[in-house]
Point group: C2
Chain length 154, copies 2
């Protein structure tokens, strides 16, 4: 194991259940939605406005993985700032509503648990629930991610 | 609700627990790893080989969201081919190992459950577990996704 890349930022000791962190926002343009989808999720309802009308979505929608990737960017640029970076081992993900062209996405993260590791004294695990909202304050994604948090060096 | 965009492909009636579907493979180049990360996950260990050496990863690693996006592409291009497309409402995700530059990723999906909807007679839900392997047959991602499956039109 190597030491955290960044010594700035929050350590395990700085995190507590119920803390909330915000991030900036990003506008999801139709071009970006289609560009992402052409590379990673080239289904008609993600790449073609006309074809999308006849789909479940009834119009162009972003790939859920695009919403997830943009959420990650908002998390990196937001208030959270974990020492050593935001490194997840996994989590639970849901997309209650699609992201649409023109949507303005923002995030709100809440610390759900903080657990020191028994076997690795230098670290612990934090469950962070990040909700991604559109401009109508509707949730387009909810992610409960297990993140590594480092203990403050002695 | 609109009808499925594509009438080719598998319906709920064609899916059964234990079915396995494969996909092609894709090589994860360092340039693509850094390009994805610069846009969505610009942390040192995803964008800079030198800085990555001092991180948890000990070298350049792909963003987990990049592994997820590439997995989606393999799923779309693979054997699964659901009528109406691959549309997920969420799921559970884990990244047991990082994806490294030069890794050759492939997927294997297994149907874990098939559940007709009680309230919507035209559809149901399928839980599909997709494992993403590297060229050493190590699992770099496991995703259990809840997907919509349409019933075959009468």
């Amino acid at each position: 194991m190597n030491s955290p890349a960044s010594l700035n930022g929050r350590y395990l000791e700085d995190l507590a259940v119920g803390q909330v962190f915000h991030g900036g926002s990003v506008r999801m343009e139709a071009d970006a939605i289609k560009r992402f989808a052409r590379e990673f999720d080239p289904q008609p309802f993600h790449v073609d406005e006309t074809a999308a009308v006849d789909s479940l979505f009834g119009g162009l929608a972003a790939s859920g993985w695009h919403t997830a990737a943009v959420t990650m960017r908002l998390l990196i640029d937001g208030e959270l700032r974990l020492a050593g970076g935001v490194i997840g081992s996994g989590g639970e993900l849901s997309w209650p509503l699609p992201t649409r062209p023109g949507d303005e996405l923002r995030i709100e993260s809440e610390v759900m648990s903080v657990t020191p590791s028994r076997s690795r004294p230098e670290r612990g695990m934090v469950v962070l629930r990040t909700r991604t909202f559109n401009q109508r304050d509707e949730i387009v994604q909810e992610l409960s991610a297990k993140l590594i948090a480092w203990r403050r060096p002695a």
